[in-house]
Symmetry: C2
Subunit: 368 residues, 2 copies
């Protein structure tokens, strides 16, 4: 079975952080492995900004997932042992209620009428799903980039049922440059002639593609681009004034932009980038202490030294803060020419895999 869906919050609506409510909420998710009889062998995997619930292949001919290298029998996330759940995020566009879903009140897509939501809201929906699935304890919540923000928020909000957290390449708060790039990406979409206040037909293609191209620049590194593309040109191209594909790097970026338009909803992109901007667990909670100071479960933080989006200086500052507040944090840094995306790249698995495996195997022994 691949994508499954469950309708939640039918009776009592989802109460969002901003006070708005929504009912019902459809959640798209995929599972791997089997929930144990004691129902406490779950790992929750959180995808990044443009990811989906399809984290790995379910069978030989299945479409590749985004973390195939880490998931399967005997792998880091051993599906003979763990029951892995990966949901499409609330507000997304791949099976879970989001701006492109039908608003039951109007019979039309929400689009920009969709309520504003936060990372906190995203994981609230996930918790409801896990309860519906009968999960009683979670061995670990694992995620990278925006997935790492979700994992961190789990550590704060739902430590009651969670044993550990693994956060790869995400800071305790979005930094000003990530916010700046997110603004620029939204500007490209909002300014597209086909955007039409969110009521576009198809997609605001140029704007959404441009946004994706900006993203790609921050997900990788200059070193990688230099090595891979140098100043190679595309065959049969001409350096005519504004030919978009004279250089291979241009062709690469255009391709990334064009294929993205086919798989992602522009309105979802606006909402999700804003949720990233607003993520800040260093802000005081109700008790005036920083929210992250509540983390009392083992927390693995992995920073990527070459990250161009969530900079290593922010990760290091986060680590210092976590230590200062006695969070049981383990910190590692990984160097990679792939930059921010390194945790998604097959070639870099050997750099991350042992850190994750060792962390999981050193968790206090539970019933499994």
């Amino acid at each position: 079975m691949t994508l499954q869906q469950k309708e939640l919050f039918q009776k009592s609506p989802l109460l969002l952080e901003n006070g708005e409510t929504l009912s019902p909420v459809l959640v798209g998710y995929e599972t791997y492995g089997t929930l144990s009889e004691s129902r406490d062998n779950c790992i929750l995997l959180e995808h990044a900004l443009t990811g989906t619930a399809h984290a790995a292949k379910h069978f030989e001919d299945d479409a590749p997932g985004w973390w195939d290298d880490y998931i399967g029998p005997g792998k880091t996330i051993d599906t003979d042992k763990y029951f892995l759940v990966c949901t499409n995020v609330f507000g997304g566009c791949s099976g879970t209620t989001g701006p492109s879903s039908i608003n039951p009140k109007t019979g039309e897509s929400f689009r920009l009428q969709f309520p504003g939501f936060s990372i906190k809201d995203i994981i609230k929906v996930q918790r409801e799903l896990l309860e519906q699935l009968g999960v009683t304890r979670i061995v670990s919540v694992i995620g990278g980039s925006m997935g790492g923000m979700q994992a961190t928020e789990w550590a704060i909000d739902y430590a009651d049922i969670t044993d550990s957290i693994i956060n790869i390449a995400s800071p305790l708060a979005a930094g000003p440059d990530a916010i700046g790039y997110n603004l620029i990406m939204r500007m490209a979409i909002l300014n597209d002639p086909d955007f039409n206040g969110g009521n576009y037909v198809g997609q605001p293609e140029g704007g959404l593609a441009t946004a994706r191209m900006v993203g790609m620049m921050t997900y990788r590194t200059s070193e990688l681009f230099s090595k891979r593309f140098e100043r190679f040109t595309v065959a049969e191209s001409s350096p005519a004034a504004f030919s978009k594909e004279h250089f291979q790097i241009e062709s690469y970026l255009q391709y990334q932009g064009d294929t993205f338009v086919e798989r992602f909803d522009a309105n979802s992109y606006l909402y999700l980038t804003k949720a990233i901007d607003l993520f800040d667990v260093t802000a005081p909670a109700k008790d005036d202490l920083p929210a992250f100071s509540k983390i009392k479960i083992p927390y693995l933080l992995i920073g990527i030294t070459t990250d161009q989006l969530f900079r290593i200086h922010d990760l290091r500052r986060g680590y210092e803060l976590l230590k200062e507040w006695d969070v049981p944090v383990t910190y590692h840094e990984v160097a990679s020419e792939y930059g921010h995306d390194a945790f998604l790249v097959e070639k870099e698995v050997p750099k991350f895999e042992p850190l994750i495996r060792s962390f999981l195997s050193n968790l206090p022994v539970k019933s499994i």
Copy 2:
């Protein structure tokens, strides 16, 4: 006297690298100091992508220039000693013929009918101007960023009248990430609903502002943004869905974008970024040797270790190549939280000034 203009190429047209011709060409320029009787005390200063000929104040109440800290009596570029010339680049929009100029053949603005041009063409126009001004020798051609590319090209094409070159923060060839960002910036402009194939009224504001915002992200550093803006919010703002100015970094970028639209022509931006992309003096010249290998005059190269646009690894590779081909190169690196823009920042003058002063003072003594 501030901006002066001279009409060139009236009798024999400007022959561009791509074979096209243009006649006449108006050049906007400013000068500081006095041309000596022997007419050999000229320094040519090259501005960066969005700069102008107004490099420094001419009098107390004059508008600030972009290199006031370096130019004046007793300063690094000592106007008691040197005759400084700074032109607005060919293809620009501040006094020199460019896409927004009137095409004498049609009586209307060139816009996208303007011929494609290169860094080589930009300096060809400058050489013609200097000859018209009676300059016989140039002590140094100095420039940063796109200005550094012009300086480097001078070293190759016009060493016959040039004694030295100072290139700050520009590589021997635009790297793939600079090309990628340039493409993204052009995409934002081309996709603007008001762009109208280059025949816009006013400016394609959203697109041009977005382009400038992308540029600003690459001109500075994450460290600086973190220090200056953190996650500070704008007074009386609300984190409503896509409010453009919730965070100070957003307000800063918006301001940079909005003010840019008032002073720069979108079509010029397209042409100039393309000229940067195509700059590559590592490519073979007619004799099959790399063009830069022709450089036989003292060449000062200054790299900025934190540069997010023209990366230090590219500058270092350039230095190695220059040494390999016995170019008389002097290389220095400057670290600055300001990144690429450091050479334009008053606070950072002490890092650059001694390098430039020392280089100029150690040049083989000429008649001045």
